[in-house]
Assembly symmetry: C2
Homo-oligomer: 236 residues x 2
Amino acid sequence: MAEPFLLGVLGGMGPLAAVDFQYQLLRAVNSASDQQQIPMAVWNVPQIPDRQQALAGRGPSPLPQLIDGVERLNRIGASHIVIACNTAHHWFEALQAASRAPLLHIADATTEAVAALSPTSVGLIATQGTLDAGWFQRRFARHNIETLLPTAAEMASDFVPGCYAVKRGDVAAGGEQLARLAQALLDRGAERLVLACTEVPLALRAIGWQPPRAAVDPAEAMAAVCARLWQQQRST
Amino acid sequence: MAEPFLLGVLGGMGPLAAVDFQYQLLRAVNSASDQQQIPMAVWNVPQIPDRQQALAGRGPSPLPQLIDGVERLNRIGASHIVIACNTAHHWFEALQAASRAPLLHIADATTEAVAALSPTSVGLIATQGTLDAGWFQRRFARHNIETLLPTAAEMASDFVPGCYAVKRGDVAAGGEQLARLAQALLDRGAERLVLACTEVPLALRAIGWQPPRAAVDPAEAMAAVCARLWQQQRST
């Protein structure tokens, strides 16, 4: 007999993004009854080293805390695990190796959502660690989609301060900086934007900024994949 | 050595209320940094019999699923457990008996918040099961606070349909019905309202209804108690 479906959410990075992701899961199912919603368990423990700092070589690795979270989610009975943070996917293989339950990769879900829109180019907004890792770019390239990246100057002047402004609760200031970066990518010819850091869509929504063509939110793409998986398992 | 603090949240009743409660926990700490937020694990599994139906003798008991959730939260390492549903406190003693981690009672947190406002009377909006159990009324009476209750007719015409409208996503219609009940309690002389069903504050906020003097939201009172407990443990 198949193990019961239970989605494990590895959160804490930050804690607000993990809560927002749970809303996206509820919206993705769009059910009239509580009982049809995705059963989930959430590890939302923000006492974990900063991922951006670690990847920049300026702080300790979050890997021990990430493995602890994955082990706890296995212990509570998760059948599948998702990571509610783009940058933490840097440690995806190590976490998969530590987990009985399979992990779903956010870049796979995002690529599916992007490919469905058939753009020739996308602008990718993400942490330096995510940009350097190349998960998104390699996957998009397989669909003949070119990825436009922020410049080093834009990362330093707009992305990093914008992101940390959101983290400390100054969503309006952060939103303005992130919107400037988003506009720059559109001005360089990006047909679509991929907002691959959980703080970004949240901050842009907060200030009411919208690109001319709908952006792809990897967390939303991930929620859609989770909802489909749950609905498939329920109907079998 | 004391066990590390980890708040276990028993949710799923409904899943949206459990997500809202997590927002209230984040707001209650009001911290500038992710790392200062409450570490938490959430069991948000909505495949559980309806509490109102069970207490009315019209459906199976949710107790087996509640105990399973409490056991899972113990297994993941919860040091304290809260139940993100007023009505489910009907099974509080049985759940406490099944748990190594202590459970915090929502009516204790609420009484503390109500007593701080020193009203002579409050109007209590809650499910029939919660009203019948008398947890809130007995605690308020110890502070010489009289509790005004909805009539049977108001429960049938406003509370029950209002609540289920919210559960099926029709927050506007539900809000109108619940606001009518809230106004009736104020008209009968309630100085303050206690909105002791997770759907109620959510629905009243959604339609912009506000009583003349701020209402007490038990979930918010509970979040405040959790935040204080976490901050005490961090500083020791």
